[in-house]
């Protein structure tokens, strides 16, 4: 969906759902996922529909991911760090569980 115009920072490696992904310093988590072609960052708590970043400016909360063990963080506001562990979120509510 998106491509890089060029090498913009120093190359770093992050982990997304257990797989190593190349990113650039200066990326946010959401930008790194878009550049890596990862199309979904979560499924919704209501219907389980797939969602991806929508506004990239901190207002829509579609880019929520788990970062280094902390859930529901706004990926568009968090800069990537080498070795960062990111997990997409599977959200459907299951009442009583």
């Amino acid at each position: 969906m998106f491509k890089r115009l060029g090498e913009t920072g120093s190359a770093i490696t992050i982990e997304i759902d257990g797989k190593a992904v190349r990113a650039q310093s200066g990326d946010t988590v959401a930008a790194a996922m878009l550049a890596a072609g990862i199309e979904h960052c979560r499924t919704t708590p209501v219907s389980g529909a797939s969602r991806a970043p929508y506004c990239l400016m901190g207002v829509c909360f579609e880019c929520l991911v788990t970062i280094d063990g902390v859930g529901s963080r706004q990926g568009c506001l968090v800069p990537v760090r080498d070795g960062m562990r990111i997990e997409t979120q599977q959200g459907k509510r299951e009442a009583g569980r």
Binding site: D27, T28, A31, S50, Y54, L77
Partner: protein
């Protein structure tokens, strides 16, 4: 980098938001000797319009344009002013006694401010069409953000849709960066041109006239522009096709990315949660805070500057920030000399001159603000327009009651992406005005914080004893 424990417990002035209004306000106040802290939740200063101004990988100045690079001076001025500027700082609470709750790198502090300038800017107006929640559908502003900050451009079949100056600016910037745009689906209702005509003389005197015309020419020479009346995104699990109606005929195109935009509206959440009174602006179709000439809200000591005070653009935002800061300095340090507010006001008036024309011309059509049936209005809780209309029809009078019935506005975005849609839908069903219907009552935390962050608050001995007894 400033951490939460490094902050003082009180400041003369707390500025929330590091866009043009916040940067200009912090710079002016700090230079006048007012102890000033600016909190911004993004990794760098600049806000949205000057996003990545100190770090952008786009070095060819022509790509983003000279209006973007005007942010360099503003950023330098603020950085050199002596104000404490903290990025990655999320303000999640502001109360009428001007206590500011801020979270920085997992730690929370409560800061007491003598004055607060809320410069939280604007966000893109909700664009509720069928399929707008599909991956592959984003806002135009989102594409502009990753272009400025990370040097990313759309790679596949890309369509832009909507109306307003930002849509044309983004198109021009993407084209200059070498990206391909298949078409622009233009939603401006034709009747708007006639209604905007009376505002044309003022617009011709504003700086936006010649810039706007040049932008339209640049884009229209390279991309087909298709006027449309209806729009829908289709696909299983991601965007695959875009359906639209142009001149009464239905069309379908394959697409990988659909970028939506129909203007910007004030981001009211923080000021609303602080208790500031807001009113409906019928020309801009949004709520805005009630402010005096110095941009002070109805809550004593809390001002709202920039596009959060009503949409007027980046240059006007900086002037508004200066006016709010002059008022703050005068209240805090009456002996200190400040710039003459009259000259700032004159510059601001010139900037605001063209708004009547732009607001009227780019007033989004009802079809794109008042959705029907299965079209999702509240993205977070997946509440449809039909559900909201149905509840309004059987007697639900306002958005706060609607929350209890349908949970709309109660998800993580806290109504930012559905508030205006819900208010306008209720008003339409009940045949009243949006101003009568009102908006969501917002409460802190206006951004989510974790229990661990809350638990990191410093506790005094007296507070500890009060609990232990």
């Amino acid at each position: 980098m400033t951490r939460a424990p490094d902050l003082a417990s009180s400041y003369d002035l707390v500025v929330v938001g590091g866009g043009p209004a916040g940067l200009a306000a912090a710079a002016l106040a700090a230079r006048a000797g007012v102890s000033t802290v600016l909190f911004d939740e993004n990794p760098g200063i600049g806000g949205q319009i000057y996003r990545g101004i100190t770090s952008t990988p786009i070095k060819d100045r022509a790509v983003l344009g000279e209006d973007y690079w005007a942010g360099t001076a503003l950023a330098a001025e603020a950085t050199a002013s002596g104000a404490t500027i903290v990025n990655g700082a999320t303000v999640w609470s502001l109360d009428p006694s001007r206590q500011v709750g801020v979270a920085i790198a997992g730690q929370v502090r409560m800061i007491q401010a003598q004055r607060v300038i809320v410069a939280t800017g604007s966000l893109e107006r909700p664009f509720p069409i069928p399929g707008w929640t599909l991956p592959g559908v984003m806002t135009a502003g989102a594409a502009q953000t990753v272009l400025k900050a990370q040097g990313l451009v759309p790679g596949g079949r890309t369509l832009l849709a909507g109306c307003g100056p930002l849509l044309w600016l983004l198109a021009a910037q993407l084209l200059r960066a070498g990206a391909a745009i298949e078409a622009i689906l233009e939603t401006t209702p034709r009747g708007n041109w006639l209604r905007a005509l009376p505002h044309l003389p003022d617009f011709l005197l504003s700086p936006y006239w010649s810039k706007g015309l040049a932008l339209l020419r640049e884009v229209k020479g390279k991309v087909p522009v298709i006027p449309i009346e209806r729009l829908a995104a289709r696909g299983e699990d991601r965007l695959q096709e875009v359906d639209y109606v142009s001149h009464g005929k239905e069309h379908r195109r394959r697409a990988d990315l659909l970028l939506l935009h129909q203007g910007v509206v004030p981001n009211v959440n923080l000021a609303n949660a602080a208790g500031a009174v807001h009113r409906w602006n019928e020309r801009q179709l949004c709520f805005e805070p009630v402010l005096d000439v110095d941009f002070t809200s109805t809550v004593s000591g809390i001002a709202v500057a920039g596009d959060g005070a009503g949409i007027a653009g980046g240059t006007a935002a900086a002037e508004r920030g200066r006016l709010a800061a002059i008022a703050a300095v005068r209240a805090l340090k009456p002996a200190v000399s400040v710039p003459d507010p009259q000259s700032v006001r004159q510059r601001l008036q010139r900037e605001e001159l063209g708004r009547g024309f732009l607001d009227t011309l780019y007033r989004p059509a009802d079809a794109f603000r008042l959705p029907e049936g299965e079209t999702i209005a509240c993205r977070c809780e997946e509440v449809t327009s039909g559900q909201i209309r149905g509840m309004a029809a059987i007697g639900c009078e306002g958005p706060n009651q609607m929350k209890a019935f349908l949970r709309c506005g109660m998800g993580p975005c806290q109504g930012r992406l559905c508030g205006l849609t819900v208010t306008e839908l209720i008003a339409a069903e009940r045949r009243t005005r949006p101003g009568e219907v009102g908006y969501y009552r917002l409460r802190p935390p206006v951004k989510p914080i974790t229990l661990a962050e809350l638990a990191s608050l410093p506790i005094s001995e007296a507070e500890r004893k009060a609990v232990e007894r």
